[in-house]
């Protein structure tokens, strides 16, 4: 017999091991699910999780899909550290994409080097503007940023729908709900011929480095972390909560907006009715699995990206439903939350009743 016992200090080892345990548990559940769907588990596992990584094209796709996850995840993690829950990154991404597309379509005939930087700027500002709404309402009117940022995701989707069905629809596009294709000067340069991964990926690495520096070496980053971990201490030290909320939302909004630019000026090359297959929501999982740390977010984004491209591969090769991807994403977060139990608790063998009574909490959580 063993029982759960509260650790004296949170375990650092478990902090780092927990995402790995969660990933392993997800893979194990995945294999079971493959069996259940009538697949050979090992073969399906290979097709889903290994094969995409065996070709240069596959690795390129991995980095391509990881890019928006990194950008959104890094921003969300900064907010989550300060207890600011922006869960509307998908809306900010969408508005960033719209803003960049407006610039690209407005300067349709201009072949100039400043066009791409201008699009990136527009995208970042668009994302920031969208994120500023929940920040303003939370700081000014005490309104839940979770609900407001989420409501604005649906508003952003509908705005995009209106634009591609109306004002921004390609007049020569046979009435398809999409914009004109962007001209070359408005497309992000590819990193390598034959791969689709583009300049947004190094940009996302820059964001990781910037976020790491911000959290580790700036006073603002320190203030936000204190506010998240010890709100009372932050209050006592006179750290301003509104400033944290604004900082978190503006940074994560700008990064999500850039992720949107990366999509429309990258693999899409135009504005379509759907810009993101839920990258902004997957980034929530990425932020938690990455332990709210920029480097962790980078690694978690690669894993999450593998779930996307593995899901596509499995759909093509094994006719598995693509919805499995979403299922795996949800499972990963559940397993992570469960495994995190062992950061604060440990399993101890039950030796003496007297000793157990002396040390164990009376309300056993297991």
């Amino acid at each position: 017999m063993s029982r759960l016992e509260r650790r004296l200090e949170p375990s650092r080892a478990m902090m780092l091991a927990s995402p790995l345990i969660a990933a392993a548990a997800m893979l194990a559940t995945g294999s079971l699910l493959f069996c259940f769907l009538g697949q050979q588990p090992l073969h399906a596992f290979y097709v889903y999780f290994i094969k995409p990584l065996t070709s240069a094209y596959g690795v390129g796709e991995l980095l391509l899909k990881a890019t928006p996850l990194i950008l959104c995840g890094v921003g969300l993690a900064i907010g989550f550290r300060a207890n600011v829950a922006n869960i509307g990154a998908d809306g900010q991404l969408t508005v960033g994409a719209i803003a960049a597309a407006c610039v690209a379509l407005h300067f349709d005939q201009v072949q100039a080097g400043w066009l791409l930087p201008l699009m990136l700027l527009a995208g970042a500002l668009g994302g920031m503007a969208w994120a500023a709404i929940p920040a303003l309402l939370r700081t000014r009117f005490n309104t839940s940023e979770i609900l407001v940022s989420l409501m604005l995701v649906y508003v952003a989707y509908l705005l995009l729908g209106y634009l591609v069905h109306g004002p921004l629809r390609d007049p020569a596009g046979f009435n398809f709900p999409q914009s004109k294709m962007f001209q070359d000067a408005a497309l992000l340069p590819l990193l390598m011929d034959g791969l689709r991964v583009n300049a947004a990926f190094p940009l996302s690495l820059l964001a990781v480095a910037g976020a790491w520096f911000f959290c580790k070496h700036t006073f603002a980053g320190y203030r936000m972390q204190v506010s998240g971990m010890a709100p009372a201490a932050a209050l006592f030290a006179g750290f301003s909560e509104p400033r944290n909320v604004w900082g978190a939302f503006l940074v994560s909004g700008a990064l999500a907006g850039l992720a949107g630019v990366g999509e429309v000026a990258g693999p899409l090359g135009q504005l379509q009715p759907t810009v993101s297959p839920g990258y902004g929501f997957a980034a929530i999982i990425v932020a938690y699995v990455g332990r709210l740390h920029p480097i962790g977010v980078l690694l978690a984004s690669l894993l999450m990206s593998l779930l996307y491209i593995g899901g596509e591969a499995a759909q093509i090769e094994l006719q598995l439903p693509s919805a499995i991807t979403g299922l795996f994403q949800g499972l990963l977060l559940f397993y992570l939350l469960a495994a995190d139990l062992f950061i604060h608790y440990q399993l101890k063998p039950r030796r003496h009743i007297a000793a157990a009574l002396a040390t164990a909490p009376s309300g056993d959580p297991a």
Partner: protein, 307 residues
């Protein structure tokens, strides 16, 4: 607006309000016991797909509703186990439940797209249902519309007039005191979370069995989140939930009647209204911190450990 149009508008408002009432009332009970479950959207989606699947397979709407409630309970059980037993963060776990529900419902519903079932039967009373004006507004709805109103009444009575309701509120306000006088806080919270799951499942199933009798991926379209917001601006009171749900039902169905009224606005902008209205009402209610402080269950969102 002419009379037939007005009747159609009001009648469809009741339909749109019903799933919101169901989901919100479940969440209200959960929150009154001190637990914040952000997984409403996920539980509704799974309820919608399971209810549709079972109704399609058996031909019985009642069985579909029952299955949807059970599916909601199963989803809520995951949440309850993580939050109440393993003490995980309520916000993160609720988000996980929604993301999982989105994935699971898409997965379960992959073969159901494009199929339809017969919509839920509507009440038909001799004489009464045929009355002009009053008939279609009072006596021609399906059972769930009436059921949702009864639910509001029942929950309101249970919360205010019974020992069980008092216990739920006590646990929500001060779990430590409730524990100290011998109540099983965790057990009671399991109960309220599972009840919330059942109600969310039913609310979801109403979408796929009555409102639009088919399954579409992500068909709740944020209704779970609107239902969550509704609990806040009802200031955790059943009455408020009902008023709010009918208000939002009206805003939601406005887009389908806009042309008849002669509103020439792109449909996307009308479809934005429920979300924008949610934000506006949230701001109005939350603007005064006192309103929230006085009404919000004190322990909402905080885990309880009996040690």
């Amino acid at each position: 607006m002419n009379t037939p149009l007005l009747i159609a508008f009001l009648a469809s408002t009741a339909g749109a309000a019903t799933p919101l009432i169901m989901a919100s009332m479940g969440e209200l009970v959960t929150e009154r016991s001190g637990v914040l479950n952000l997984g409403l959207e996920g539980m509704m989606l799974v309820g919608a797909v399971v209810g549709f699947m079972v109704t399609l397979g058996t031909g019985h709407t009642t069985l579909g509703l029952l299955a949807a409630a059970l599916a909601g309970i199963a989803m809520a059980l995951i949440f309850a186990f993580l939050v109440l037993t393993l003490q995980t963060n309520q916000v993160a776990t609720g988000l996980a439940l929604t993301l999982f529900g989105v994935g699971l419902s898409a997965f379960l519903g992959r073969g159901l797209v494009g199929q339809t079932v017969a919509p839920m039967a509507h009440l038909s009373l001799p004489l009464l249902s045929d009355l002009p004006f009053i008939g279609p507004l009072l006596f021609r709805f399906d059972a769930m519309v009436y059921g949702s109103l009864l639910t509001v009444l029942a929950i309101s009575l249970v919360l205010s007039r019974t020992r069980l309701g008092l216990t739920i509120r006590a646990v929500g306000e001060s779990p430590h005191s409730a524990h100290a006088i011998g109540y099983d806080v965790i057990g009671l919270r399991y109960g309220t979370v599972l009840f919330g799951g059942a109600m969310a499942g039913l609310g979801g199933a109403y979408l796929s069995l009555a409102l639009t009798p088919m399954w579409v991926e992500g068909m709740t379209a944020g209704r779970g989140w609107i239902a969550l917001a509704q609990v806040v601006f009802a200031t955790w009171k059943p009455r408020g939930v009902m008023v709010g749900a009918y208000l939002f039902g009206g805003v939601t169905v406005l887009q389908f009647h806009a042309q008849g009224i002669g509103l020439d606005v792109p449909s996307e902008f009308l479809a934005m209204l429920p979300y924008l209205a949610t934000i506006v009402v949230l701001v109005i209610i939350c603007r005064n911190p006192q309103t929230i402080l006085l009404n919000k269950p004190m322990s909402l969102g905080q885990n309880f450990r009996a040690d």
